[in-house]
Symmetry: C2
Subunit: 215 residues, 2 copies
């Protein structure tokens, strides 16, 4: 079946959401060793109910990822009056959101789960994570970039390339290192430098794509 990308509030009943919360907690705690029995016990429900609601283990996993991923909300930027200052602050906000998201325990777990899943020729989880992560950022950022170009604040031939450059400047090697469990890169460690990194990445992006002296 084609998975719905969007999840509305009413997709899951409160009880079901409690189950999904339990599943997510277990996922974060125990890695991908998520068993149906454990979820049932944690959520105080029967396995039969799990299978009735979610079909099978994959369905539960999918629902969990989908439900959690949909909770990530992007800030809306007013692009009607873009000034250099507003643009810079918007970019910084995007960078901050992106960084704080990817270093979060939940994001790491979800990405790991989806990648593990993708290793078994199943890309549904990967698509959900992509759609709610990088692609969501892209959808929100590109209009702003294009508005900024129209306002002569930025210069680029392709907004796609500009977006991907911004992504690279912000994320760098942080995400892959966290996913691989690099001990030299704890969340708190990265967290302390977020503000500096946000400013640095934004400055670099503006240096590359700013129309003039936007530094």
């Amino acid at each position: 079946m084609a998975l719905p990308i969007k999840i509305s509030e009413e997709t899951f009943t409160p009880r079901q959401q409690a189950v999904l919360t339990a599943a997510l907690d277990l996922l974060v705690e125990n890695g991908d060793g998520l068993t149906m029995t454990a979820v049932a016990r944690r959520a105080s429900c029967s396995k039969e109910t799990l299978y009735k609601w979610f079909g099978d283990r994959d369905g539960l996993l999918t629902a969990t990822v989908q439900w959690q991923a949909a909770k990530v909300r992007m800030p809306t930027v007013d692009r009607s009056h873009l000034s250099a200052k507003v643009l810079r602050e918007s970019l910084q906000q995007f960078a901050r959101d992106l960084l704080t998201t990817i270093i979060g325990e939940v994001s790491i777990t979800l990405n790991r789960t989806a990648i593990t899943h993708a290793a078994q020729e199943k890309d549904s989880l990967g698509n959900i994570v992509l759609e709610n992560g990088p692609m969501a950022i892209r959808r929100r950022l590109k209009p702003i970039l294009e508005a900024a170009r129209d306002a002569r604040l930025l210069r680029f031939p392709s907004s796609e390339d500009a977006y991907r450059c911004f992504f690279g400047l912000v994320v760098r090697d942080v995400q892959i290192r966290l996913l691989l469990g690099d001990k030299g890169l704890t969340q708190s460690n990265v967290e302390a430098n977020i503000e500096a990194d946000v400013v640095a990445a934004t400055d670099q992006f503006l240096a590359l794509y700013g129309a003039k002296a936007n530094l």
Copy 2:
């Protein structure tokens, strides 16, 4: 036990290397669903031998990743006479190697395996991959960056930051999308653009860190 980071040629006998090759092939083919029985059958050896040589499944996995990761070789750059031209070409070579590596089937598989492993509170595989991937690049690149700074070709306060910026400009969202199984980003698709991306990333890096008009 502390895992040796370096693997010499003689660490494994040819027969053992054949077994590891079989394991790697299966890993690439079947994702993380690597079973001891499958490896034994593919390598035409008995399971008993596998356990004798590698201890347990984790040992086999570790040996496979370790052995394969060690095969990645970095180019050596002569940093005695660095000119702007040589620097640019060196950077481009690094970018090219990095990109061609991470889009390769084997790299994707190894990273996925290590990440899956990291989701179970085991970071040995992750460390091996990190050490032979990003960290290896860093070890080779940083001296060049610093030599270029000494030669007044580059300007930066921290070679660490410069390296990580370069990494971000080159990799961008390619690796995470491939790991997540993004269908809109096939290897061939990326491969076709490698040269353009290499040049673009290098130009951007030089624009940010070049001492003067190194564009």
